[in-house]
């Protein structure tokens, strides 16, 4: 290591502060944490691997494996499948919210944030804002691939964008569940494991892959109650240009309810952690 010389004068001058800056707003603080999330993506691009690869694998696999059997042709199936696969991809990516939060806690970074005189929810809100960038990237990947292999949404650009926007709102709301897990569980891997256990039934026992009308009645009830099913129906509707406003409203209401319930729990746990 090269010789390091700490100059007393430089140190004094650097630390001295004549005017303490005004405290930044809640929005500015959250955006700073969002910026941090983007820096993390820049420095650790491996974390995008799942985001980039899983939609490709799922879309190709399901389209060509089941397309013919389920819908008669892969071309017909992709019209049905793609909005669903998009929803599944994004929902699985929301798990990373809890995972990264837990990593920050284990590494002690979060305690530094908690010791700062800032708007308390900012670190979590900022992280969620950064995550929406991740969701957007995954959405672009998924839809881009879909377009290449024959997805032709009747809703046009506007319909697709509206579908993605609705999905992002839902993902933001759903993330609060994973922030709770991130705060409660001990290790990042435990967060990952438990989250997947929650997500598997939510995504597979839905209308993402097949029309639920052939399912046993008990399962059909679950699928009908599953908020993911409503989300998929709404996104499908928006992208096909035949949106059922009832489904869109249901999704928005469930997003509000999830945020209203899980965000305060998250903040309670965040404040009272030790």
């Amino acid at each position: 290591m090269s010789a390091v010389d700490i100059s007393t004068t430089t140190l004094r001058e650097a630390v001295a502060l004549d005017d303490r800056p005004a405290r930044p707003s809640a929005v500015a603080t959250s955006l700073t944490f969002g910026w941090r999330a983007l820096l993390k993506i820049k420095h650790v691009p491996e974390q995008l691997f799942d985001v980039l690869v899983s939609p490709v694998i799922f879309t190709l696999m399901f389209t060509y494996l089941f397309g013919g059997a389920i819908a008669g042709s892969t071309d017909a199936y992709i019209q049905f499948l793609l909005p669903g696969i998009l929803v599944q991809t994004i929902i699985i990516v929301t798990v990373y919210t809890g995972y990264t939060l837990n990593t920050d806690i284990t590494k002690g970074v979060f305690d530094r944030f908690r010791s700062l005189p800032i708007w308390r929810p900012a670190p979590i809100v900022g992280a969620l804002l950064g995550d929406t960038v991740r969701y957007t990237i995954a959405s672009v990947m998924c839809i881009g691939l879909g377009l290449i292999i024959g997805f032709r949404p009747d809703g046009g650009v506007l319909g697709v964008v509206a579908g993605v926007a609705l999905l992002l709102v839902f993902a933001f709301a759903l993330s609060w569940i994973f922030t709770i897990l991130g705060l409660l569980l001990r290790t990042p891997n435990a967060v990952m494991g438990v989250s997947m256990m929650v997500l598997m039934p939510l995504t597979f026992a839905s209308n993402i892959f097949v029309d639920p009308s052939t399912m046993p009645s008990g399962l059909q009830t679950f699928v009908d109650l599953n908020p993911v099913s409503h989300l998929v129906t709404a996104v499908r509707g928006l992208m096909a240009g035949s949106a059922g406003w009832g489904d869109v409203t249901t999704v928005l209401i469930s997003a509000v309810v999830m945020t209203a319930v899980f965000a305060p729990i998250t903040m309670y746990l965040y404040r009272n952690r030790h």
Partner: protein, 340 residues
């Protein structure tokens, strides 16, 4: 809220208590700690791992809510006025860290922005801090590539972005090489010279001795002694005689003589030629008679000295247990542990 506050006090805590429950077992991590730290001074909280040092700091830094008692930092209550405390306090420690994935510059820039510095003011502040901590060249590298000393400097710089008036340093030099440790000490001295108040936790007696105006010894969540380094040493007794023998086979015999003359049980270090014994209170005159007594017994003593008690001995006396082996500055306490 409660009694009037003395403006000359940076930290005042009364009866701080914190329990941790895991399963059915409840541990009292901190069990009634009182602290009074005058503005502009350095207080060293000394104790072994698990003594409750970090828990005390975390409560004072508003990261943990006390289960009992109260604390004020610069007159602000840590529970009811937590935000005011956060504005005044800088925290560095094992549990408040910078982000390893980001570069040094990005870490500081993020903090600067969170404190309200904008645009050029933020970049300028960060550049000055990096320069002052000799990290300008490393600024564009991810923190995970830093050496231990650099890492600790960036941690310190991070806690100084808002020029805090009170600084909590939780084991700031644990795991550092002596050179980097001295640097951290120098930095702390400069900050204190400029009026900062420092609460420092440490397992190292030497560190407390070097930096702290007052030292509190903490063990099992309780403050078992408090005072200046000299006061603490004096509380133990007169000091100790250190004897070195010419012939190692005579050690048992010498120990018997020492025991008879001083009335205290000698300590036998790893070195087979050495032994030492505490001098009892008002026993200084006995020391003068010890050397001739050893001579009469036919024991050759090439080295004989009377030393001040070390803080190791302070700790040993106060708790009945030596500090953990790797944190002692000499071998005596270690040997004692082996002997028990």
């Amino acid at each position: 809220m409660t009694e009037n506050t003395d403006p000359r006090l940076a930290v005042e805590a009364t009866g701080l208590v914190k329990h941790f429950t895991s399963g059915k077992k409840t541990t009292k991590a901190v069990d009634g700690v009182d602290l009074t730290i005058p503005t502009g001074s350095v207080f060293g909280l000394l104790g072994p791992n698990g003594a409750g040092k970090t828990t005390v700091v975390r409560m004072l830094a508003t990261l943990l809510r006390p289960d009992g008692g109260s604390a004020r930092v610069l007159g602000h209550d840590v529970v009811h006025d937590a935000d005011a405390v956060r504005s005044a306090v800088g925290l560095t420690g094992q549990y408040a860290s910078v982000d390893e994935d980001l570069t040094g510059t990005e870490n500081l820039l993020m903090l600067a922005r969170l404190f309200g510095f904008r645009g050029r003011a933020a970049t300028q502040r960060v550049a000055n801090l990096l320069e002052a901590f000799s990290l300008t060249d490393a600024g564009s590298r991810q923190v995970k590539t830093y050496s231990g000393g650099m890492r600790r400097r960036i941690d310190l710089a991070a806690s100084l972005v808002l020029s805090p008036r009170v600084l909590f340093l939780d084991e700031p030099t644990t795991g550092l090489d002596p050179r980097s440790r001295n640097q951290v000490w120098d930095i702390v001295r400069v900050l204190v010279d400029d009026g900062a108040t420092v609460l420092l936790t440490t397992q190292y007696l030497e560190e407390a001795d070097q930096l702290a105006d007052r030292i509190g010894v903490i063990d099992h969540g309780r403050l078992i002694a408090e005072g200046t380094s000299t006061e603490l040493k004096r509380s133990v007794g007169q000091g100790a005689v250190e004897i070195r023998l010419a012939d190692a086979t005579q050690r048992a015999e010498a120990a018997a003589v020492v025991q008879r003359m001083l009335g205290t049980e000698p300590t036998l270090p790893t070195d087979p030629y050495a032994l030492s014994a505490r001098v009892p209170d008002d026993g200084a005159h006995l020391v003068a008679q010890l050397l001739p007594a050893l001579g009469e017994a036919g024991i050759a003593v090439p080295e004989f000295s009377l030393g001040q008690p070390s803080l190791d001995e302070v700790f040993l006396t106060l708790t009945g247990e030596p500090l953990p082996a790797d944190e002692t500055s000499d071998g005596a306490a270690v040997e004692q542990e082996v002997a028990r």
